[in-house]
Subunit: 121 residues, 2 copies
């Protein structure tokens, strides 16, 4: 019998905005929670297994918004939970700036199909 997949979440950050590290961490947390909530609703078994496994999470990078939008479309096509995050613009950035993208939790190999070639932030 095949072993069950591990679950992971990836958060993709665009690096052209040059956010400060606190701002960046808050945006990543926002993406992580929003994508996780989608998983809770649509794939509760993925969410539960991800939590049991210690909520494995990687943070990777792309160059710009176009990179995020492309990965968002791919995630949707693959039926993975995905959340594109817009900043509220109270500090540092213009309101509505897209900062990052949460993908998953989902099976390791499915998330890797989307983000496996990206470098760690």
């Amino acid at each position: 019998m095949a072993e069950k997949s591990q679950m992971k979440q990836a958060v993709v950050v665009r690096v052209d905005l040059k956010m400060g590290k606190g701002k960046l961490a808050a945006q990543v947390a926002h993406a992580s929670l929003s994508a996780a909530e989608e998983a809770m609703e649509r794939r509760p078994e993925w969410y539960a297994r991800w939590k049991e496994g210690g909520q494995a999470k990687i943070v990777v990078k792309v160059q710009d918004e176009e990179g995020l939008q492309e990965l968002f479309r791919k995630s949707r096509s693959a039926r993975l939970p995905a959340a594109l995050i817009q900043d509220r613009g109270l500090t540092q950035l213009e309101p509505g700036t897209i900062t990052c993208l949460g993908i998953g939790p989902g099976p390791d190999e499915e998330v890797d199909m989307i983000t496996g070639k990206l470098k760690l932030l």
Copy 2:
């Protein structure tokens, strides 16, 4: 009639570990989600209002683990959702290292009682 409080979450990071920014962001996301889950269970109305308000979140800093432990005790005494995060130690840190603390979501003024004097990361 008094206006209803805004809700916020604070994530407190210790700076003595000198984590890389991707590692740091992943730890902050872990703290944010874990504290948010406690709020979902124990104070669902706080959680709902926080989400409606755009999940306001700040990332602040303390020097070391002792600083995190003290704020964790204060948060528990104040009956705020709180989650102390241990790293799994797969990269960069020793397994079990406490990296950060999520507090809330809770009413702004209650969270500020605990973290209001800390500097933004």
